[in-house]
């Protein structure tokens, strides 16, 4: 298998799907001439031309709405938010339009659109630019939410998203764009279905559910726990948060009898709380300890780097949480 960076995997998925289907196009700020604020769309303008790689002014509500309208009438837009923080300007279009049109039309009007871009904290970009938006959007029926951690998942899930007939919110990680990982060859055309978790590491000591950047934090913690305590953690990456693979998480907990959920979003509610609720209802009798959560601290993101480190989930906090549920 080849190694690709996360950003290259996303780019490749867009290229393959744009070559496959002439109705697929990319639209967003700086996606064309500038080659993408994070260089995800590098080379796409040259390859597909201005008709299909479209630079927009700064007008998120406008171009999100244009995308939705075009999707309703037969095109397959990929709308890039420079970061998901700016999707709040388009919140109404995503929630009141994209997520509702199928239902309002009695199931007759599809909305095959993908909104994508980097999600979560980067490095010291502070209060207004560090949101993990997953808890805001996972609440909304009518949307699918993918949040891949690895290049291979990013590519396969994005291909599925582009072919999907319902709106998909595709949450990438700004700090993951340079991460390298194995990806199948181009002719493999791997399309990863939504709602199927990936067991990234097998173990019988404790289940750790983690997605997005915290997936890597959890993997690191698992190595430490294995080395220092002989405890083998099983890591479940749900990959999509809506739909959510409850079965995979419950099966894992039935094996390990313990669970820690690690996420970058704030502790109040969100997929973190949803996962805990599902597991306690479906695996209550198998649990040997209350489920722990490792989340961002409950504050707006501070700028100073010492405080940012404190706010985000760390390997140490994951290790502590696992030790707590394993009574170590």
């Amino acid at each position: 298998m080849r190694e690709l960076r996360y950003r290259e995997a996303i780019r490749e998925a867009m290229i393959e799907e744009m070559e496959r289907d002439a109705n697929v196009f990319l639209m967003g700020e700086e996606v064309g001439h500038y080659q993408g604020a994070y260089k995800v769309s590098e080379g796409l303008l040259t390859r597909f031309g201005e008709q299909r790689v479209i630079d927009t002014p700064i007008a998120e509500a406008g171009f999100a709405g244009v995308g939705i309208g075009a999707a309703m009438t037969g095109l397959r837009p990929i709308v890039e938010f420079m970061t998901w923080n700016f999707s709040f300007v388009a919140f109404d279009q995503i929630i009141s339009s994209a997520a509702k049109v199928a239902q309002m039309s009695g199931g007759r009007v599809p909305c095959p659109i993908v909104f994508r871009g980097p999600n979560g904290a980067a490095k010291q970009v502070a209060s207004q630019h560090s949101h993990s938006v997953d808890p805001f959007y996972t609440n909304i029926p009518g949307l699918w939410i993918a949040m891949p951690a690895t290049p291979r998942d990013a590519k396969g899930l994005l291909k599925a998203a582009i072919r999907e007939n319902n709106p998909v919110l595709f949450l990438e990680g700004e700090t993951l764009y340079n991460v390298k990982g194995e990806v199948l060859d181009e002719d493999a055309d791997e399309v990863i279905p939504f709602g199927k978790a990936r067991i990234a590491r097998e173990g019988d000591g404790c289940t750790i559910v983690a997605w997005g950047r915290p997936y890597y934090t959890a993997m690191e913690a698992a190595e430490i726990l294995a080395k220092e305590h002989g405890l083998q953690c099983e890591i479940v990456d749900p990959r999509t948060l809506r739909p959510l693979d409850v079965d995979a998480m419950v099966d894992s907990v039935k094996k390990t009898n313990r669970c820690v959920v690690v996420h970058e979003h704030w502790p109040y509610g969100g997929p973190g709380a949803e996962i805990v609720d599902q597991i306690q209802r479906h695996a209550f009798d198998w649990l040997d300890a209350p489920i722990e959560r490792v989340a961002a601290l409950d504050v707006p993101m501070p700028y100073a780097s010492n405080l940012e480190t404190l706010v985000l989930p760390t390997v140490e906090r994951v290790v502590e949480a696992v030790k707590k549920v394993a009574y170590l």
Binding site: P57, F86, V89, A126
Partner: protein, 340 residues
């Protein structure tokens, strides 16, 4: 208020303070002492300083993330600014805000805002307060030409125009929104046409001469203060650096940049002072003082204590009256009985 050459002397000093502050900030960024986004104002200083000279104490100012210049022009100390960039407790926002979120309410500065267009209606809100309270204060709201395409801008102007709020909107047209030239974001050349649609006065001029900026902006500020409604001003300018530190600005030519640098606002002011008879020795004296001031602020920022966990928890809410003592989240305190 100083006038004529004395005023220009002071303005030159401020512009230079901003310029040198940001040159040092860029250096510190390269050394890893500053993180996140750092949007420099270098090349646009005459606007911040000219606008600040047209305002009086009590007026309100809102700006984008490109906010160091106006903060300093309004009176923020270089120490408070640099310490903020270094993420230190003595920073203007206690190290919590960073470059994009300078605040200095004592000097009328209501922030550095990071979401394009988001602050335009907030500024209209401050002007609404002034009209409501009939306090004679005026609000200035800055933004880039790229921001004139977003809904927040249009709704803010829509309300300000309708209610004839005492506000001056200043569009710093530095020709590029990140990497995109204005020709690819707007089908107009004259942005004041947008203001016409909202029934407000418009003005449009080049912003490299601080005296011109002050005079033209003051006309609009005075009009707002008299209760004669808002003005939209497009000030043409140019940023000499990239959009932020991570932008190498490959989308423009070296020639274009060199051409624009001929209108460097600091150099223009210096020349005007020299032409008016201010001796070279005095100018060098001013420049030396600014160098010392900036060196001192870097030293201060280096040595200041880091941002604190207490500040992080304490600042999420100001003191509350609604929440009883046994329900307070961490760091939140109650308004003392009798306060508020």
């Amino acid at each position: 208020m100083a006038s004529g050459i004395d005023e220009l002397r002071q303005q030159y000093r401020k512009m230079l303070e901003i310029r040198r502050f940001e040159e040092e900030a860029a250096r510190a960024y390269a050394m890893g002492k500053i993180g996140g986004f750092l949007h420099l104002y270098i090349g646009q200083e005459a606007i911040a300083v000219g606008v600040a000279s047209a305002l009086v104490k009590g007026d309100y100012v809102f700006q984008t993330y490109r906010d160091h210049g106006i903060a300093i022009a309004l009176g923020m100390t270089a120490n408070a600014g640099m310490a903020e960039l270094f993420g230190k407790d003595t920073g203007c926002s206690r190290g919590l805000g960073g470059s994009m979120h300078f605040f200095d309410p004592d000097n009328g500065f209501y922030g550095g805002w990071g979401i394009v267009g988001g602050h335009v209606a907030l500024a209209a809100g401050a002007a609404f307060k002034s009209k409501y309270a009939n306090d004679g204060q005026v609000t200035v709201c800055f933004f880039g030409e790229g921001a004139t395409n977003i809904g927040g801008f249009h709704e803010g102007l829509s309300l300000a125009g309708l209610w004839k709020l005492p506000i001056v909107f200043i569009c710093e047209n530095n020709q590029y929104a990140m990497g995109t030239p204005m020709s690819r974001t707007t089908p107009l050349e004259d942005l004041t046409l947008k203001a016409q649609g909202y029934g407000m006065h418009g003005d449009r001029f080049e912003g490299h001469d601080v005296t011109v900026v002050k005079d033209r902006v003051k006309t609009a500020v005075d009009r707002a203060r008299r209760g004669e409604g808002p003005t939209f001003i497009e000030i043409q300018t140019y940023r000499f650096r990239g959009h932020s530190m991570s932008d190498p600005a490959k989308y423009r030519s070296r020639q274009e940049l060199e051409e624009r640098k001929k209108k460097d606002p600091c150099a223009v002011a210096r020349q005007r002072l020299a032409d008016a008879g201010v001796k070279e020795a005095e100018l060098l004296g001013i420049e030396g003082e600014i160098d010392d001031l900036i060196a001192a602020c870097v030293k201060h920022a280096d040595e200041a204590p880091p941002a604190t966990e207490e500040a992080m928890w304490d600042s999420v809410y100001v003191p509350t009256s609604a929440v009883p003592a046994d329900r307070l989240p961490r760091g939140v305190v109650r308004v003392e009985d009798g306060d508020a």
